[in-house]
Subunit: 331 residues, 2 copies
């Protein structure tokens, strides 16, 4: 295993030291492994918390800051954070206007956030939860009942974060989060496995002449293994199931093509050059896009496509200022 | 070879289609493979051009935009762009105040930019050139006489770009670029080779238990191969030669830890968590930092450290607004 780490069991703790050193605008609670905004809180703002296993960086810690999350709970690599992390974070960030928990649909995350919500309810903090489930690849998977939550989580954190920042209340923020999740679809593919530090070897074996379509962000199996193909064909295999799952025609689309951690930007742009015309041809107007590493799977080579059916309001919230390590504009 | 590409010979042309699709704020001249800002030019601004082989993304195309470059000339993967690309770009971006060519010290790039400068001189455009050479790893290398130009190029494009944007003239911009290059030092290391698409196999072989210290951004050999070590020791081996090469003590430092393309952000933060305290201990105040993929080597796993000895003026220019695909803040 070739990685820039010390001991496998210290990966998260060590990485959080680096986050703290690189980002004075964040406050890292090393004991509880929670990343907060450092600046004083505005009263009356709905707070947004997300979290999940580490290994998907910049998700979620890289999306903490004005215009997105108030806090991110960091689990060990590919492991859910614990309810006490979530309870602590929720209590700290509440400004009296309630807290939205943004949870990717994985069994451990859903269960732990649910438990945290119940624990916090006793203390009078109002908590609502959105569970994202945008991955069209499989209906159930290794670690989920129902579809997996993947790329739409990034877009949701941005859009709903903007709504919270401009003062929308918890009901409005919750409704918006449901709308975004309902209108977003994703599909991923892998050229290689990832290697979890604690395991020390690739999660799965993928022969040199094959790729995995519909792979999950932890290396869970996808739809099928197929012979490796060129970018044009890969683009079709990503776009087709996304378009087949939701009526996008004629709508503006916010599109993200995220690398999985081991794929260089040159290849991501190349693939986006194939994806964008396919979407346009199908009537999706690509009005905003992100190409880069936004939701990753450690060192996996591959990419995931997320398309959000947008409208003027969603685009306005997308364009609102954001200042995080992973996304920044307008400030 | 597992890559998100079509034909190896079309990688650059195909990737530029994706850049154009993703960035309406850029204008891509597909015929000449030059990326420009799309917005109208301000008169009297010194123009900044850079360029080089592709495969180092986001360098340089990702740094075109307000506050950084006016144009980037894109060569084939790891191959210098041609003089005619540079002449075309220089002529297009000149606003009567002259043009600065920012060139990484590699034989092909230096020769071609020199030729372009001579060709353009006849047409009355004033061109000055800064050749960056910040890599402390080796004094001469496979493709250079003198030190290689690497990470400081990113910091220079940002800082000098800000100076040009605020109206400094060509003499001032050139002097500033020399100062930045002279005060910046870099050192890189690789865990794996990269694979050039046209070659179809790794540039070099690196056994599972070894790493290459001082590797170049094209996979050129570095100082030595050593047994693979933990992040703490790798940090020492990056920091030590940088500090040994320039007296940093007591100065503020702008620090970049760049991935080489195949290393996930989690590991980069982890390594930065080791690097930052070593720098602080040596008297470098880490006042600004970048952790992520900024100057890469295709899919190589590894990282490079760049430290710039700064002062209030350089920090002020660093903080000035920038709006590019690769760096964005303040707007």
């Amino acid at each position: 295993m070739k990685k820039l780490i010390n001991k496998p069991e210290d990966v998260l703790a060590d990485a959080l030291k680096g986050v703290a050193a690189a980002h004075p605008e964040l406050r890292v609670d090393h004991q509880h492994r929670v990343i907060y905004r450092a600046e004083p809180k505005a009263d009356g703002k709905v707070a947004l918390i997300s979290g999940g296993g580490s290994g998907h960086e910049p998700l979620h810690g890289g999306f903490v800051g004005p215009g997105m999350l108030d806090a991110a709970c960091c689990g060990e690599v590919f492991t859910s954070p614990t309810p006490d992390q979530m309870v602590g974070a929720t209590t700290v960030v509440d400004r009296g206007a309630g807290v939205l928990h943004i949870v990717k649909n994985y069994t451990g995350d859903v269960m732990n956030f649910e438990m945290a919500g119940e624990l916090v309810a006793d203390s009078g903090v109002r908590v609502e939860t959105i569970v994202t489930d945008d991955d069209v690849a499989v209906e159930d998977s290794t670690w989920t009942a129902g579809r997996r939550g993947v790329g739409v989580t990034v877009l949701l954190e941005k859009i709903v974060g903007a709504a919270a920042e401009e003062g929308q209340d918890l009901d409005a923020v919750l409704a918006l989060s449901r709308r975004v999740n309902g209108q977003g679809r994703s599909m991923g593919m892998a050229l290689t496995s990832c290697t979890v530090p604690a395991a020390g070897k690739p999660t799965f074996e993928l022969p040199e002449d094959q790729m995995e379509m519909g792979v999950g962000i932890h290396g869970e199996p996808g739809r099928h293994r197929v012979p490796i193909a060129g970018a044009a064909e890969i683009a079709e295999r990503l776009v087709e199931p996304v378009l087949a799952d939701l009526q996008f025609g004629g709508s503006p689309g916010i599109v993200m093509l995220s690398g999985l951690g081991g794929t260089p930007l040159l290849e991501l742009y190349l693939l986006f050059g194939e994806v964008a015309p396919l979407l346009e041809k199908a009537g999706v107007q690509v009005v905003r896009s992100l190409v880069g590493n936004y939701i990753t799977s450690l060192d996996m080579a591959g990419a995931s496509l997320t398309v959000l059916k947008a409208d003027d309001e969603l685009v306005r919230l997308w364009d609102a200022p954001v200042r995080t390590a992973g996304l920044r504009w307008g400030v």
